[in-house]
């Protein structure tokens, strides 16, 4: 009963129904069904090669599934923020130039840059080239870029993998803040400790759904 009441508050923003995808001649994902809800931090857990990144890229719209259906009642593609595992912005550009590029490509107002610079404490680094940033600062920059579209769904691929303890703590507090604002957060991780911080988890094994918990 309690479960139902919580779900009523947490509206589904995206639903995957029997999604499958092949990659490199093998099954990367098989028959995955998943509901992503607003205000919830959902963890996609599993060992390397289990299909976490494939699933996240399908959620982000980077890849299309070979089979199955995706419904996006609360997360149109334009309102999805995506943070890749590798730093995927431009080293030659400064922090603010990287953000301006993202804003312009998304067709969002340039004022969003000032907002995220402030929100992610990047103002002091605004004129620094991305190449000169530390790992934690790069992570913040990628998060800031993802938040430019004021996403209803925020996707993060192994966000804690390269962070020290303090940066991890800071990241989790930021993700909780976003979830509290109503954003659905989905992250991948191969660490059980990350799963414990999530509101719900899906465990993948060899591209198949092994376990779900809420």
């Amino acid at each position: 009963m309690l479960h139902t009441a919580r779900d009523a508050v947490r509206e589904p923003v995206m639903t995957l129904i029997a999604v499958s995808r092949r990659a490199g001649g093998r099954v990367a994902l098989a028959d995955i069904s998943l509901v992503i809800r607003a205000s919830e931090i959902h963890g996609l857990l599993g060992p390397n090669g289990s299909g976490k990144t494939t699933l996240l890229r399908i959620l982000a719209g980077i890849w299309l599934p070979d089979a199955g259906r995706i419904e996006r009642p609360g997360a149109p593609l334009a309102r999805i923020g995506y943070v890749a595992q590798r730093f995927c912005l431009y080293d030659e550009l400064t922090v603010s130039e990287n953000l301006l590029f993202q804003v312009s490509m998304r067709g969002r107002p340039a004022a969003s840059v000032a907002r995220v610079l402030n929100e992610f404490s990047l103002e002091a680094l605004a004129s620094r080239r991305a190449a000169t940033l530390s790992g934690g600062e790069r992570q913040r920059l990628m998060l800031a870029a993802a938040m430019l579209s004021e996403p209803t769904l925020l996707l993060l691929d192994e966000p804690t993998a390269a962070l020290d303890t303090a940066s991890r703590r800071s990241l989790w507090s930021l993700l909780r803040r976003e979830a509290a604002r109503g954003t659905a957060v989905v992250l991948t991780s191969h660490e059980l400790a990350d799963g414990e911080q999530c509101d719900s988890t899906t465990r993948l094994s060899e591209g198949r759904l092994a376990d779900e918990s809420r």
């Binding site: 980077i62 995927c88 912005l89 490509m105």
Partner: protein, 360 residues
């Protein structure tokens, strides 16, 4: 002993990497083979044919010169023109190499000296023609004994005007194909393609957005090379700068489109570089940059006609040295534009496929 074992291990590792990197292996085996075939079969230093246009008031004069030319050890392609003006127009357009004005007193021979190698060869032939024209038994008028040779477009058959003007095309081919070939491959290698995919970038946006700056760079580079050529090597600029700029724009577009196609096919920047080199080799050998185009066998000329550089060299040399008109430039631009469209279309199709595949 330990060091020897480690060296052997390293060498074995290199062999395994080399054998498994098919693109590099293909280049290592393929490039020498292409070089061998091109140098061996396609490249000739002296033309076997000579294109001559005769302007004469009497048919017998044309027939006599033609007989002599055809009796030579080279293949002469002889035609006649109704007037000196139309013959010289053909000379300017590169359709003929020599114009013999048998009506003039003394007779005049106009030689297109743009290409020093070809014009040197032509001079040998011309000397024979001169002797023929000067034979007193054949001509009634004594004045035909003296023949004046006029070298046009590159007096003294200097090497620099011919080579340096051609370098504009060669340098643009090398730099633009290479730069655009690295674009998408670099995004993929650095991981930023993932970010672009998350931004739902479309293939044509990616293609045009990435290549537009290089198009401007190509124009700037072309202008810079021409300016230096003019100042440092005293290369003449007899034709229209607007024609050169327009031709450079289309030529740059063709090279960029091809480079972008390479970029969509290559998985890493190294592969893109290898593809660029593979294209650059026949471009430099079969385009007429290094060796006379007309001296190559027909099959090699056919291959050469497919290369944008071949047509651009004709344009740039034609405009700078011979002041060719717009119609000539447009005629040579058509194959470059067709190449650009085919390469561009193939690049877009390949880019769409690559984006669907997603990041590495």
């Amino acid at each position: 002993m330990s060091a020897i074992k480690r060296i052997a291990t390293l060498a074995l590792k290199e062999v395994l990497q080399l054998v498994r990197d098919r693109a590099t292996l293909g280049m290592l085996l393929g490039v020498p083979l292409v070089q061998l075939l091109l140098f061996g079969f396609a490249v000739e230093l002296t033309p076997h044919t000579l294109s001559v246009t005769i302007v004469a008031s009497r048919e017998e004069s044309v027939a006599r010169i033609e007989r002599w030319l055809r009796a030579g050890s080279f293949g002469a392609r002889v035609s006649s023109a109704p007037s000196l003006q139309s013959a010289q127009d053909r000379l300017r357009r590169g359709e003929t190499l020599v114009v013999i004005d048998a009506r003039a007193h003394p007779a005049r021979l106009y030689l297109d000296a743009t290409d020093p190698v070809v014009s040197l060869h032509a001079r040998t032939v011309i000397e024979g023609v001169t002797r023929s024209l000067a034979a007193p038994a054949d001509e009634q008028e004594e004045s035909t004994r003296a023949v004046r040779i006029v070298e046009l477009y590159n007096p003294g058959a200097r090497t620099q005007p011919y080579l340096v003007s051609g370098l504009v095309g060669l340098i643009l081919t090398m730099t633009l194909v290479m730069m655009s070939a690295l674009t998408l491959a670099r995004e993929r290698e650095r991981g930023s393609l993932e970010s672009l995919l998350a931004l739902r970038v479309r293939p044509f946006e990616l293609c045009i957005g990435k290549l537009a700056p290089y198009l401007l760079l190509g124009l700037l580079q072309g202008g810079l090379i021409l300016a230096v050529a003019r100042l440092a090597f005293d290369i003449p600029l007899r034709g229209s700068l607007v024609l050169i700029a327009a031709a450079t724009g289309v030529f740059a577009g063709a090279n960029l489109a091809l480079g972008f196609l390479f970029s969509t096919l290559a998985r890493v920047q190294m592969q893109a570089m290898q593809m660029t080199f593979f294209f650059f080799l026949p471009s430099s050998l079969l385009s007429g940059f290094m060796f006379p185009f007309g001296a190559m066998p027909a099959w090699a000329q056919l291959l050469g006609e497919m290369l944008p550089l071949t047509h651009f060299l004709r344009i740039i040399r034609g405009v700078t040295l011979r002041n060719v008109e717009g119609g000539y430039v447009v005629g040579e631009l058509v194959p470059i534009a067709v190449f650009a469209m085919v390469a561009g279309f193939a690049a877009l199709v390949s880019c769409r496929r690559r984006l669907r595949e997603g990041p590495a």
